[in-house]
Each structure stands twice: as structure tokens, then as C-alpha cells.
Amino acid sequence: MPESKTNTFIEAMTPPVREGGPLGRFLKRSFSSIPNGLVTLLLLGGAGYLLIHLVSWGIVSAQWTGTTAKSCSNPDGACWSFIIARWKPILAGQYPVQELWRIFLFFGILTILIIWIAIRRIPGKSWALVSLWTVFPIISYYLLIGGSFGLSHVPTNNWGGLLVTVVTAVFTMISTLPFGLLLALGRMSNMPVIRLLCIGFVEIVRGIPLLAFLFSAATIFPLVLPEGVNIDLFARTMIAFMLFNGSMTSEVFRGGLQSIRREQYDAALTVGLGWFSTMAFIILPQAIKTIVPALVNCMIIIIKETSVLLVIGLFDFIATIHFGTESPDWIGGHHILLTGYIFTAAVYMITCSVLSKYSRRFEGQIK
């Protein structure tokens, strides 16, 4: 046995010790050098100033009661009374007052379905999903438009506000998923005609702005229909939204389908499954699981897209706020408009960030 040159071992170094508590580490990193410290101070000062301003604007000098612009005479304070006094047009536009319960019922059913689908512990997810694509659209149609079952008819011209925005967003989501899936399947099909049609549709629609698409739905679509046939603007817009977003979601579905390995198809073929059974029982269940976060991102995009409704002349959430400040009772205050914008922005922001937090958590669970 050869003699080792030295008998002394080098002591292992002790791992670096975390010094100070969380606050100490924070201070150390924030004030590591003089310029860095100055930046920190500047940012903290700015944030403090902004916070004080926001509290004084939104709470201290804000106005909560009143029914006209005169009640909001302080231009340095928020005018929440504008939102509170006009809650009805902001919620539903010109929807008849005695029929408002139908809207509340619609929102109630929608909320229950969303909670049912979103929260993991509640059982029976497949029932909720199936009803979202079958019972829910039918019920909402008869509930909101009416005309049968003893409900009076409310034409879509009388709709407005949050109702229009939510209905557009929800029904675009519901209709665009099957359509996008069809496009993605068509794009991967063995039939050249179907494949080319789907590729052409998706690529062309993706190169066109949504607004151009909606303008076409508003101007060209009536021209190519037979004389006398008339589809109202709201329905045309929903169809345009479905077609447009279908091409977006189809790319997400395609990504999911392509992530499934070739062997899965071969194995399904080996046990004698046809195309439909292969897709429905083998491929899609695996593919959809991986693309849920991407699909939720599509939902966020759709929610933000609905703001465009105002440009083509539908009276959506933003429109009720924006044009509300031009109504005779509320005319004249620049701060009223700003209050409205900030309220709208907050609603959109909270909805979208909750959704994106959810999708990020789901992503973590998949991994």
C-alpha cells in the first residue's frame, strides 16, 4: 500500500451562513452601493407619493353619493357616485328594469359553473363541462333574449354594459374551442383538401386585425346574404369573434396534438381503434391536459379583445362608462371620466390577473 504524501485532511468549508433576517437581507440588497441606494430611495419615495395620492384621491376626497355631476365638484377626488348612480346602465344598458332579475340569474348560473370548474375539490367536473357546452347556452339564450316561456322579448339593441361584454366573452370562449379544435384536426388531416382549407383559413385570419374582421362582419356580411334575410349586429359580431379566435386557439390545439408522440397513434391503431376513438379516448385527453394554461391565456386575450366592441358600435362595458360621462346629468367633469376609466381598468385587470394566476398555478401542477 503506497504511502500517502500527507496525512492531514483539508477541513471542508462551512456553508455560507445567511446573515440577518429577511429585512436585513432586503436592506443589504437594496442599499448595496450609493447609486443603488439612491435608486431605492427614489423608487420608495415615488411609491409612497403615489400611494398617498391614490388614497386621498380614491377615499379621502372621493364622492360616494349624488345623482348628478354637481355632486362631484371636487376635481381632485374620485367620483364614485357616477359609478354607483349609474350601476344599471353600466350593468345592462337599456335592459328593461323589471326584467333585471333575468340578468342576475344569468350571472348567478355563470358564477356557479365557473366555481364548479375552477375549484379542484368539487366533484363532477365532466357534468359542469358538458352543461357548459349544451344546457348553459340554451338556457342563457331563452333567459336573456326571451320571447317564449312567458318571458318578454328583449332585442339585443337594448342590451349594453357589462352584460354585452360578458356574454360576448363567454360565448366566444364556448364556441371558439370546438371550432379551433376542428381547425387543428383538419390541419393535421390526411385529406389534402381539408388540410389546405384549414391552413389557408388559419394563416389568413391570423394576418388580419380583429377590427378589420369585425368591420367586414358589419359591412360585407349583410351584402352577401339573400335579400330580406337579416342577422342582427350582435349575432354577426359573435360569429366573427368565433371565427377569428378559432384560428388562434387552433394553433394552441395543434401544439398540444403535436406534443403527443407518434407511438400513441400507433398503439391505438394496433388495438384496432378508428380515427374518432383514437382522438377522443387516447390523443385528446393527453393533449388537452398540457395545453390548459395556453387555453386560459387565450381566454384572457378574448376578454381583453371584447373592448373592441365599442368601435363597431355595440354598447359594451367601456362604452357605457365613456358615453355615460356625456349624458346630460354627468357632463362636464374631466375627473368623472378618469374615475370611470380607472374603475373599468380595475375590473379588467382583476379578472385577467386572477385568470393568469390560475393558469400559472395549473402549469405548476402539471409539471
Binding site: F26, R29, S30, S32, N36, V39, T40, L43, L44, A47, N190, M191, P192, V193, I194, L197, I204, G207, I208, P209, L210, L211, A212, F215, S216, T219, I220, P222, L223, V224, L225, P226, E227, I300, K304, E305, T306, S307, V308, L310, V311, I318, H322, H334, L337, L338, Y341, T344, A345, Y348, M349, C352, S353, S356
Partner: protein, 388 residues
């Protein structure tokens, strides 16, 4: 006979028959729908008294465009109006692309800052502006911020620069023909100088300070000659006439609102794209850069960024296409781009909806495809230079 039929219909081919029938049926259905739509459109147009075709392009437009890069008056044709509008779209889209990329890059690097407060501010910026619809942001800038600027009578005036709720008025340099020639020559010289310097740098290492000083002297001298030498042109200042300022260069409020909205909103997405690119670069690259003595900024710009760009360019291209498409939102605040001029004014005046919408879609498609082609070329260039 039966033998031949069997040879034609091998089992494999027999399997394909339903698919073939299905495809033929789809084609027939689409042709039928298309034919019906054409017939309907014809009868509808006839009933409304509209003649189809592009003949209207040459007739007088009879309206004015508030922002124009080409000579456009009330007597000009619809075609000229479309060209002017398209140039406006290009100006808006290009400045939006540039600004949102720069902002996105800054925010992305800020989020990696060692200073926790700074990175938190960057994160809040992204989370806030990403989740508010673009249209609402444009409205906020236009009706909220710009509309609260003082009126023409009470403008903010700084020298010859005027700011009010009608826009930002800047002095502009009006070139004579001689001036255009000289400045074009100068531009060629500058480009040549940059190329020579770049070559020199790559061949011999650094460019020495003396060369830089000479370049600066020549550049500033020529710039001075250009701007103050009489025969090249003269400065035109904005002057109050009637209800607004005229002359000089006017940056209109619609443009500012569109640009602010487009670049702030899209910079959040760009910053996420750049961030994912930066994350994909291993920490070892940063440490290696530190080891050879590069400062923080230098290691970011010279080591991390070029590698991060390779990951970021394909998704960034997609986002920039979105910027071009989103510029169509200007129809909401009447910035005269193709959407509001062709889709709004011209359709209302001529009722040629089908032709106009096809022109709009064609222009957007062509612009997007050009951008894709440019980015693919650039991507290929980067990939080659990386030499994998």
C-alpha cells in the same frame, strides 16, 4: 373487365374512397356557397345602386386627412387618400415596434436587477399594463391625459416648441432641392464611414480614439453646414394663425395616444419574451463574463443579450405582428390610418364595402408578411453568425 376493376381498386385505394367523396363534397359545398354569395352580392348591390369594381379609386375623395406625409388636398383621388393612410399606418406601426421593443428590453433587464425594489417595480409595470385592454389604455392617453392639456390660447411654449391639446408643434427644416442632394450625399458618407470603421474594428481590434474624434468633427461640421447654411433650406417655425398653430412639424394628439398605448401595452409582452430569452442563458455565461472583467452592463449587452435574442426572435416576431395589427385600433380615436380612412370615411362615402375591406385586409397581410420575411432574414443572419 372485373380483373381490371380489381387492379384499380386495391384494398388500400378502396379505403380512401370515403375520404375522396368527402373532400369532393366539401369542395362542391364551398363552391356552391361562394356562388350563392356572389349572386346575392350582385343583386344586393344592384338594388342599392352600387357599381362593383375598383373604378372609384380614381374619383375625387373630397375630404381632407389631418396627418399626411404626401401631398394630399381635397381634390385628390381615393387612391391617393389610401396611400396617405397607409403611410400613416406604417409610421405608427414602425414607431410602435421600435418603442415597445426598447421599453420591453429595458423592463426585462430591470426585472433581473439585484435591487429588489427595482425589480418589483418592473414586475408591477408588467402585471398592470398587460391586463388592461389596449383600447382602454389608448382612451386613457387620449381622453384622459392629452385632453387635459391646455387649449391653444394657453399653450405651453418653450422657445419655438409649442404644446397644447391640439398636439406638439416643433420647428421643421424645409429642404431645397439642392439641400436634398447635399444631405443625401452626406448620408451616404456617414454610412460609408460606419462601414469602414466597423471593418477596421473587426480587423485590427479597437478603433483608436483619434479616428473617433475625426469622425465626430467631420459629422458635426457637416451637420452645422446642413442646418445653418442658407442654400440648403431654412427652419420653419410654428406660428399661431386663427385657432391653431400652423407651419413646422406637428405631432398630433391621436398619434401620441396611439403610440403611447401601443408601446406601453406591447412592451409588457415584449419584456416577458426577452425575459424568457434571458432565463434560457445559463448563469455560467454571466459568471464567465464577470471573470474576464466585464462590468454588469457590458456583460448584459455583449454576452447575454446576443444569445438571448436567438431564443427571443421568433416569439418577438409574432408580437410585432400583433403591434401592426393593433395599430388598426386607431379607428376608435380617428388617427387617419388605413382602418379609419378606408374602413370608415371611404366606405361611408362610396359604399364600396367589399372592395375597401379587401384592400384593408390585403394591406395588413402584405405588411405582416414583409415583417415576417425581414425577421426571418435577420434570424438567419444571427443563427449563421452564432455558427452552431
Amino acid at each position: 373487365m372485373s380483373m381490371r376493376r380489381n387492379a384499380l381498386l386495391t384494398p388500400k385505394r378502396r379505403e380512401q374512397i370515403p375520404a375522396l367523396i368527402f373532400q369532393v363534397a366539401i369542395i362542391l359545398l364551398l363552391v356552391w356557397i361562394g356562388w350563392k354569395m356572389v349572386l346575392n352580392a350582385q343583386s344586393n348591390l344592384e338594388r342599392l345602386g352600387i357599381s362593383a369594381g375598383f373604378g372609384f379609386l380614381t374619383s375625387d375623395a373630397g375630404f381632407d386627412i389631418s396627418q399626411k406625409l404626401i401631398d394630399f388636398q381635397e381634390g385628390s383621388s381615393y387612391l391617393q387618400a389610401m396611400i396617405a393612410a397607409y403611410l400613416n399606418t406604417i409610421v405608427l406601426a414602425l414607431s410602435g415596434i421600435l418603442l415597445c421593443s426598447v421599453l420591453g428590453l429595458i423592463v426585462a433587464f430591470t426585472r433581473f436587477s439585484k435591487n429588489p425594489v427595482l425589480s418589483l417595480v418592473a414586475e408591477l409595470y408588467v402585471e398592470t399594463f398587460r391586463n388592461i385592454p389596449l383600447l382602454l389604455q389608448i382612451f386613457f392617453w387620449y381622453f384622459g391625459v392629452i385632453a387635459s392639456l391646455p387649449s391653444v390660447r394657453n399653450s405651453h411654449i418653450l422657445g419655438s416648441v409649442v404644446l397644447n391639446n391640439r398636439g406638439l408643434f416643433l420647428p421643421a427644416f424645409q429642404f431645397t432641392f439642392f439641400g436634398v442632394l447635399v444631405s443625401a450625399g452626406l448620408l451616404i458618407c456617414v454610412v460609408a464611414a460606419i462601414i469602414i470603421l466597423y471593418r477596421k474594428k473587426t480587423t485590427y481590434g479597437r478603433v483608436d480614439r483619434k479616428t473617433w474624434i475625426w469622425v465626430l468633427i467631420v459629422l458635426s461640421a457637416s451637420l452645422a453646414i446642413l442646418l445653418f447654411g442658407g442654400p440648403l433650406g431654412k427652419w420653419e417655425l410654428p406660428v399661431l394663425s386663427g385657432f391653431t398653430y400652423r407651419g413646422g412639424l406637428t405631432i398630433r394628439p391621436e398619434f401620441v395616444a396611439m403610440l403611447a398605448g401601443l408601446s406601453v401595452y406591447n412592451s409588457t409582452f415584449m419584456s416577458e419574451i426577452f425575459r424568457s430569452g434571458i432565463i434560457s442563458i445559463s448563469k455560467g455565461q454571466h459568471e464567465a463574463a464577470e471573470t474576464v472583467g466585464l462590468s454588469g452592463i457590458k456583460s448584459n449587452l455583449l454576452i447575454v443579450l446576443p444569445q438571448a435574442l436567438r431564443v427571443a426572435i421568433p416569439p418577438a416576431g409574432g408580437q410585432l405582428q400583433i403591434v401592426i395589427k393593433a395599430s388598426s385600433l386607431s379607428a376608435a380615436i380617428a388617427y387617419p390610418d388605413i382602418m379609419s380612412v378606408i374602413g370608415g370615411t371611404i366606405i361611408t362615402q362610396t359604399s364600396q364595402a367589399i372592395e375597401c375591406m379587401f384592400i384593408i385586409m390585403g394591406l395588413f397581410l402584405a405588411t405582416n408578411l414583409t415583417l415576417t420575411w425581414l425577421l426571418n432574414t435577420y434570424n438567419g443572419f444571427i443563427m449563421r453568425r452564432g455558427g452552431r
